[in-house]
């Protein structure tokens, strides 16, 4: 039987590594979107409050 343990490890490292990296990318993107959405909401609340004071 051929000794191919190193290639077996490398193969699964690539497969699981790429899948893990993509999941991490999705998680980080989701966090970034949440932050931006929250800051936008805060900004719009502040501007509407300022508008009320001006009135």
């Amino acid at each position: 039987m051929a000794q191919t343990l190193n290639y077996f490890i490398a193969g699964y490292a690539v497969i699981l590594g790429l899948l893990g990296a993509y999941c991490l990318y999705l998680y980080l993107l989701s966090r970034k979107l949440k932050k931006t959405s929250a800051s936008l909401q805060k900004e719009s609340q502040e501007s509407s409050a300022k508008g009320k004071i001006a009135d």
Binding site: A2, G11, L18
Partner: protein
């Protein structure tokens, strides 16, 4: 948490458990192939990645057709998400195949019909992602993506049948006649479990990516209304 998000979270856990189960079964409960040794076990996830890649491109073509007939941007989001996820699995398939080929064919790469067609397929969809980014108008982008996904799908059957119709050194698992891989029952069971696990994983990644793309688009529109623009760092 809405019921949709709960369902997606449950599906994500299920996908993780299925992939873990397939991995454990491949590692401990599937015999080692006598000639190739341990590297043959890369094949279970390699073939699953190839299957899911092609399935994702098929789904992208179907979503594209749905967009063209209904003009609803949600189908465009699903088309783009499916291409991105499909490309991830195709890249996994190509790299894991190269690692398998090194000890078995004594080379990392050869311009065999199957390897050539899969490369053409991957570049077709890399071009899809790059060209899509160049179109700003959402409706024009959606129409372009839908037509591209339908036409680009030609590369998928070309890849699938290349190993069956042309002279190739690439093994054929099903429908290859004499060139069949002759897997035993345990190996076949592991292969089918891996195929199922990767299919569920594809569905989960597709739904997550589509949800994020929709959120991104919504925020972009808000920012455009505020006369601002945002670099998502992609």
């Amino acid at each position: 948490m809405s019921s949709k998000n709960k369902l997606l979270a449950l599906l994500s856990v299920l996908a993780f458990l299925l992939v873990l189960f397939a991995f454990i079964r491949m590692l401990f409960f599937t015999p080692v192939e006598q000639t190739m040794g341990l590297v043959q076990k890369v094949f279970y996830f390699h073939m699953s990645a190839a299957w899911v890649g092609m399935l994702a491109f098929l789904a992208a073509a179907v979503f594209g057709l749905l967009y063209l007939s209904r003009k609803d941007l949600k189908w465009d989001t699903l088309t783009a998400a499916s291409v991105e996820v499909g490309l991830l699995f195709t890249v996994i398939c190509i790299i894991s195949g190269m690692i398998w080929a090194r000890p078995i064919w004594n080379t990392w790469w050869t311009w065999d019909p199957r390897l050539t067609t899969v490369t053409i397929m991957a570049f077709t969809y890399i071009a899809f992602i790059l060209l899509r980014r160049g179109v700003d108008n959402p409706t024009r982008r959606a129409r372009f993506s839908a037509v591209y996904a339908v036409i680009g799908f030609i590369s998928v059957p070309l890849t699938f049948f290349s190993a069956r119709l042309l002279r190739t050194i690439h093994p054929v698992v099903f429908g290859g006649g004499e060139a069949d891989m002759n897997l035993n029952a345990q190996m076949l069971t592991t292969l089918f479990i891996s195929l199922g696990a990767f299919t569920v994983l594809y569905a989960v990644l597709l739904l997550h990516r589509a949800r994020l793309m929709a959120q991104q688009e919504e925020l972009n529109q808000k920012l455009a209304a505020d006369d601002g623009s945002y670099d998502w760092g992609e």
